[in-house]
């Protein structure tokens, strides 16, 4: 049986995260300017991936604006998800992918997103054991959450353009309003 037969593919879309302890699971996603952080605990045998695109400029990200808060939130959800499955913070290791620069938009938002992820991991003391960011072409990414193996395929120019357009049409969703406004008195 080939790998493709046994693997259970789980797709991670923009704004989402997935955590798994199943060695047969392959997490996959498609990245234009978006960034995916792949984090795992090799000892506990659990790993996961998120996929985000932060709006705004490098300045607003550095100054701790809402974009940063949103990015930190998505990283925290992934890390909390891993800890819940038995991971320990001091054993986590990360790989970062995505953040392509696209000529079509003359924008370096991808680069800023990758820089945000790198800075976050540095501040949290989570080592980055591998990364592939920037460049002119988008990526199709596969990550095996238990082994930590990652594989990427470059998208063509046309695919990259289409992916970036889709990403831009799907801005960061606002935080869930349900519980945020609850006040007891």
């Amino acid at each position: 049986m080939t790998e493709a037969d046994t693997a259970r593919r789980v797709h991670v879309i923009q704004g989402e995260y997935k955590v798994s302890r199943d060695p047969n699971v392959v997490l996959s996603t498609i990245l234009g300017s978006c960034v995916a952080a792949c984090i795992r605990d090799p000892v506990a045998g659990v790993g996961g991936m998120n996929h985000f695109l932060l709006p705004g400029s490098a300045e607003t990200m550095r100054s701790g604006g809402d974009a940063t808060r949103y990015g930190v939130h998505l990283m925290e959800l992934l890390i909390n998800g891993l800890l819940k499955e038995g991971a320990r913070r001091d054993r986590l290791e990360a790989k970062i992918f995505g953040g392509a620069k696209t000529i079509a938009t003359f924008s370096n938002v991808g680069e800023q997103n990758a820089a945000f992820a790198m800075q976050f991991l540095k501040d949290e003391g989570i080592p980055v054991v591998g990364s592939s960011t920037g460049g002119e072409f988008g990526r199709k990414l596969e990550f095996w959450p238990i082994s930590g193996r990652a594989r990427q395929y470059p998208l063509t120019g046309a695919e990259t353009k289409k992916t970036v357009e889709m990403e831009r049409a799907r801005p960061a969703p606002p935080p869930k309003p349900v519980e945020s406004s609850i006040e007891f008195f």
Partner: protein
């Protein structure tokens, strides 16, 4: 002196980045006396040594989580009057209810804006300025 300047705040969160962001937000709101802890145990130790007026604590943390800290703070006569705001990345009703039962003053969902943070604190202390 503004009200915010008089309030001693303790931030409890296991993520360095979250502590930095929280500290920034509180500084922008005029708070000057801010202490930070990395988990509930550390937070409770600080509260025992020097009670703070306001605890802003994450829920999901190793060792002692936010509800554990809340319970410890409410049980100790020296710290039980502190205002307590719980932050949560995974807001669900069960958690909010549990927090209310244990005596939390407010719950704030992450990611929050500075305005939301201000509103959550003002709901407890009244207008800050």
């Amino acid at each position: 002196m503004s009200i915010a300047e008089k309030i001693k705040v303790l931030i409890v969160d296991d993520q360095v980045t979250s502590r930095l962001l929280l500290g920034d937000a509180l500084t922008q709101l005029g708070f000057k006396q801010i202490t930070a802890a990395g988990d509930g145990e550390q937070g409770y130790k600080i509260m025992q040594q020097q009670p703070h007026h306001l605890v802003i604590s994450d829920f999901n943390m190793p060792k002692m989580d936010g509800l554990g800290l809340l319970q410890a703070v409410r049980t100790n006569p020296a710290t039980k009057k502190a205002a307590f705001i719980i932050l949560t990345a995974q807001g669900d009703r069960a958690l909010v209810q549990k927090a209310a039962q244990l005596g939390a003053n407010n719950v704030l969902a992450k990611p929050f804006t500075i305005e939301k943070m201000k509103a959550a604190i003002e709901a407890v202390f009244g207008a800050l300025k």
